[in-house]
């Protein structure tokens, strides 16, 4: 490994070297408290996990892969959006091309439906495992109580953070459900019919579905800002780095 490391060149090599170096530092950091590191308080401390702050490799792997496929899904989705904007139809405003992935409608669909299986499998397995093995890290009613009653800023931050990232998982699952309903509206007609609630107001279930599916992008973007901000407040760069694979 050491020999290889010397041979790496360019940005990529530098980055790899940096990762290895940070890994070593991280190990040291855990053993010998460096004065410039603030103590890491993470949610697992709050829930009494045996190893404070340790995120198992599997949750970090799902976390990282989710971000990757989410970017692909959002980019290709916006490409599909541009073929016929949800708001305004053919006369509607399109999103800038640099946000889109696919090049044209068929290309966007290639990516969107090519990656959806990976996206769904990753999300489903991750949520399943989290519920089974780390359910105490997901939000529950207690967190709402904390927000309502507790005056301690760290506890309030932890509670809002748990609520934030749990909501993110819910939003991502919602995009999957609304996406499926539009991918197979004939065979999954019962799923589409769940979105008929705005019909009395004159909005077809199809339009409602399109709006709901699209709305997951701004929703996840807002939650993401809160999530990264709260992670920063809760555990600083060290926590962010530890979550990165």
């Amino acid at each position: 490994m050491g020999g290889n490391r010397k041979g790496l060149t360019g940005h990529c090599g530098e980055f790899c070297r940096w990762i290895v170096w940070q890994r070593v530092q991280g190990q040291l950091g855990r053993l010998t408290a460096f004065p410039w590191r603030q103590p890491v308080i993470t949610l697992s401390d709050a829930s009494g996990s045996a190893r404070p702050g340790a995120h198992p490799l599997w949750t970090r792997a799902f976390h990282g892969f989710n971000l990757l496929v989410l970017l692909l899904m959002a980019g290709s989705g916006l490409e599909i959006y541009n073929a016929n904007p949800v708001f305004g139809g053919r006369a509607g405003a399109t999103v800038p091309e640099w946000l889109t992935l696919g090049g044209w409608l068929a290309g966007g669909r290639d990516w969107h439906f090519g990656v959806m299986g990976l996206y769904a499998a990753n999300l489903g397995l991750w949520i399943g495992l989290l519920l089974q093995r780390r359910h105490r890290r997901l939000a529950d009613g207690g967190d709402l109580g904390t927000l309502r009653r507790s005056a301690s800023p760290p506890r309030r931050r932890l509670a809002s953070h748990r609520i934030t990232y749990t909501l993110m998982l819910v939003v991502l699952a919602f995009s999957l459900i609304t996406g499926l309903a539009m991918y197979k509206p004939a065979q999954l007609w019962w799923l589409v019919s769940l979105f008929a609630f705005a019909e009395p107001a004159g909005h077809s279930s199809w339009q409602t579905l399109r709006v709901c599916h699209l709305a997951t992008i701004p929703a996840i973007a807002l939650l993401l800002v809160a999530h990264v901000g709260l992670s920063w407040r809760v555990g600083g760069l060290r926590l962010l780095r530890r979550m990165a694979l």
Partner: protein, 233 residues
């Protein structure tokens, strides 16, 4: 914190890496076709599995959305005089046919109130009526080896379907729309209509049906340019 150059450099790399993924749409776009080619076979299998042979629930006539149905045409609007119109049915059949509109009208007529979904993203509930495609094919005595149907249109639009979808009980050769004769812009005198396929599979101005035992080089006007072939709903 500024005292840690390694950390700062890495953040810079992460940021530039992230933004180039967005901008690099340009780079990734070259892979669109490959991604589609790699994943469509599996997706199409799942689609075909999901797609049962039985009829799907339909809408009420009062739910029809005439204004939502947009008109797409790839090559203008052909004008087919009804008196001289003939539908050619040939290929792997015992009795090749040339049917006029009276022959189509003599078959059992069926109305389907279904959602028409365009690949562009819009959809409209439409009431199509006309004979079932399955009944028309049955007239010609199809060979058991027939597995695909090629559909030719007067504007040179071309489509191929899997036979199971063509024989679906709600796949029609529509001659009427929302209770009135089919407008020319929507494919008069005869077009395909089905709740189980995207709009680009539902050829307008249909003039020829050919039962095939295998797919040829051409899959369809849009499919040959990169759109999905099965395109099931």
């Amino acid at each position: 914190m500024g005292s840690d150059p390694g950390r700062r450099r890495a953040l810079g790399l992460l940021v530039s890496g992230g933004s180039s993924l967005l901008l690099g749409g340009c780079g990734l776009n070259r892979w669109s076709n490959a991604v589609g080619a790699a994943t469509q076979p599996l997706n199409e299998r799942i689609e075909a599995l999901l797609q049962g042979k039985g009829p799907l629930p339909e809408f009420r006539r009062s739910q029809v959305e005439p204004a939502a149905l947009l008109v797409n045409s790839f090559n203008g609007t052909p004008n087919l005089p009804p008196e001289s119109y003939r539908l050619v049915v040939n290929g792997a059949v015992r009795r090749p046919l040339r049917l006029d509109l009276a022959a189509l009208a003599a078959l059992p007529q069926r109305e389907c109130v279904v959602r028409h979904v365009c690949v562009e993203g819009w959809a409209a509930i439409v009431a199509w009526s006309g004979p079932r495609l399955a009944d028309v094919l049955a007239l010609a005595g199809p060979s058991p080896l027939g597995a695909y149907l090629a559909i030719r249109s007067a504007d040179q639009y071309f489509e191929t379907w899997d036979l199971a979808s063509a024989l679906h009980p709600q796949t029609l050769l529509a001659t009427h729309m929302n209770g009135a004769p089919l407008p020319v812009a929507n494919g008069a005198p005869v077009r395909l209509a089905s709740p189980i396929k995207l709009g680009y599979k539902q050829s307008k101005w249909v003039t020829g049906l050919e039962l095939m035992t295998s797919l040829g080089d051409r899959l369809g006007t849009w499919e040959d340019r990169g759109y999905e072939w099965f395109a099931g709903l």
